[in-house]
């Protein structure tokens, strides 16, 4: 009897968490900038001294669990010509690749956010004022998807493009690693 009650409790909890995951995954947020964004905008790092990333506040951004935001990020990635430097599938060309586990400025969402907003030396332009916070967060979500940092059910499938651009969904997960190497070494992988 007791066992039955516990197991049914577990079952209900499991179902509810599946439901919650489903809800979060499918949400189409159009207007509001998610709450975490405002805090994260304050994570300003100096342009002049990129240095090691600050991983102290590991903010799990809500967009990380949102398939629609990740897909929107992918659209922006192409439209804003991120692909021009980082490669269509994030494989990198002029800019560093986004697929591997080398994260010069950290893989934390807030780090990527400030990388996009503030720009980085050696070519990464600042997108401050060009993109809304929402859009930057979508890009953040997509960049993390490129390296397989999201759970599988929110990740992007293939786009309607050439097969050479591999889909994110069936790519293996990368372990993020904050790199302490000086930025100069990045261009020679």
């Amino acid at each position: 009897m007791r066992f039955g009650r516990i197991s049914s409790l577990l079952l209900v909890t499991a179902l509810l968490s599946i439901a919650a995951a489903g809800c979060e995954r499918e949400e189409r947020r159009f207007r509001e900038v998610p709450p975490a964004a405002d805090q994260s905008t304050n994570v300003v790092q100096s342009d002049l001294q990129p240095g090691p990333s600050i991983v102290a506040t590991a903010t799990q951004h809500p967009y990380d669990d949102n398939a629609y935001a990740i897909a929107s990020g992918k659209r922006l990635y192409v439209q804003m010509n991120c692909a021009g430097c980082h490669g269509l599938a994030g494989g990198g060309s002029i800019g560093p690749p986004l697929l591997d586990d080398k994260w010069i400025y950290g893989s934390d969402p807030s780090n990527i956010f400030s990388t996009i907003v503030e720009g980085r030396p050696n070519g990464m332009p600042s997108w401050k004022g060009k993109l809304s916070n929402d859009q930057v967060w979508q890009l953040v979500a997509y960049v993390r998807d490129l390296s397989g940092l999201h759970r599988k059910d929110v990740r992007n499938s293939r786009g309607d493009n050439m097969a050479a651009v591999q889909d994110e969904q069936n790519r293996n997960r990368q372990t993020p690693r904050s790199s302490f190497e000086p930025p100069g070494s990045v261009t020679t992988p």
């Binding site: 189409r28 159009f30 207007r31 060009k130």
Partner: protein, 323 residues
């Protein structure tokens, strides 16, 4: 609400034709509705008589009764067949008549469907670099066929201006072609007719049919670069446009702004509507749209822009000046 007040040309109707194709289809519709009404009336009256008659039924198995019923059913089927054949004959004739445009020098326009707006390009064979690129408002000359070469950038859309012509799909991977012709000058509304996602409902367009001379005048202006800002407010607005987020997606001919994600705004001030013919192009509407587009078209790809009041004022002055 001021914002939602629609102009008189918000209406679109296939039974108020203003074009060659729509006119022919409307004539056919008259034939259809008259025939269908007569047939329906006969069937219903027969049914009601059958239900209402109070006489004792004849023996259903009696050979005479059977024979008269058989004759009646056979006759009805034969009449139906005749009507269908006439229908097919008229339909095929109509289909052939409107399949190809009349043999006059047509105007050629490229139509590109985007989620959720229309792009129109007027190729110029003489000077290839001198195309007109505009959005959501298609200018055509009256009385001249216009061949539309259509493609889609993302998903399937369908081009439809009921007063002028039936619809044709825009399908990724398949370029399609259709033609329209306006009989009389006017502004005709059209709308995407194939479900294309979140803002399918607000993916409208206007066809502005003008007499040939007026059209040529418009085309001349549309080919040129944008007007330089007239005053200092507008100048400040240009700066807002170029340094802010706008130029990332929108292009304005003659400036540094060359974004191709959203509509080309070179002659934005002369447009009647904004947001894919969803709102009249007034200063108030435009301001509301720039600041919070997701309230007007939730899900559209235009992001909100948190501009300072004076920045917004300047930007509006600049955009409205782009005649």
């Amino acid at each position: 609400m001021m914002l939602l007040q629609a102009p008189h040309y918000a209406q679109q109707s296939m039974i108020d034709p203003a074009g060659t194709k729509a006119g022919a289809i409307n004539d056919f519709w008259h034939f259809l509705i008259v025939t269908a009404s007569i047939v329906t009336a006969i069937v219903f009256i027969t049914l009601f008589i059958a239900l209402a008659k109070r006489r004792r039924p004849a023996d259903p198995e009696a050979p005479g009764e059977q024979r008269s019923l058989t004759r009646w059913v056979t006759g009805s089927v034969a009449v139906t067949l005749v009507i269908i054949v006439v229908f097919l004959f008229m339909d095929f004739r109509l289909g052939r008549a409107i399949a190809t445009p009349p043999q006059r020098t047509p105007l050629r326009v490229n139509v590109i469907g985007h989620q959720w707006w229309w792009e129109f390009q007027y190729p110029d064979s003489a000077t290839p670099g001198n195309w007109i690129s505009t959005a959501n408002e298609l200018h055509i000359p009256v009385g001249r066929p216009v061949i539309l070469r259509m493609s889609a950038r993302d998903v399937i859309h369908s081009f439809w201006v009921p007063n002028l012509s039936g619809k044709k799909d825009l399908i990724p991977g398949h370029d399609t072609e259709t033609w329209i012709e306006a009989d009389s000058a006017g502004i005709y509304r059209g709308q995407c007719a194939e479900f294309c996602g979140l803002q399918h409902a607000k993916m409208a367009l206007l066809v502005i049919a003008e007499p040939e001379r007026q059209f040529e005048q418009w085309a001349l202006g549309a080919r040129g670069a944008a007007l330089a800002p007239a005053d200092s407010t507008a100048k400040a607005g240009e700066q807002v446009f170029l340094t802010g987020g706008c130029s990332v997606c929108h292009a304005i001919g003659g400036t540094m702004a060359g974004g191709t994600v959203g509509p080309n705004l070179t002659h934005f001030g002369s447009r009647l509507t904004i947001a894919a013919a969803s709102l009249p192009n007034t200063k108030g509407n435009l301001g509301g749209w720039i600041v919070d587009p997701q309230r007007i078209k939730p899900g559209s790809f235009m992001p909100p822009n948190a501009l300072e009041p004076d920045q917004l004022e300047a930007l509006l002055a600049y955009l409205e000046g782009l005649k």
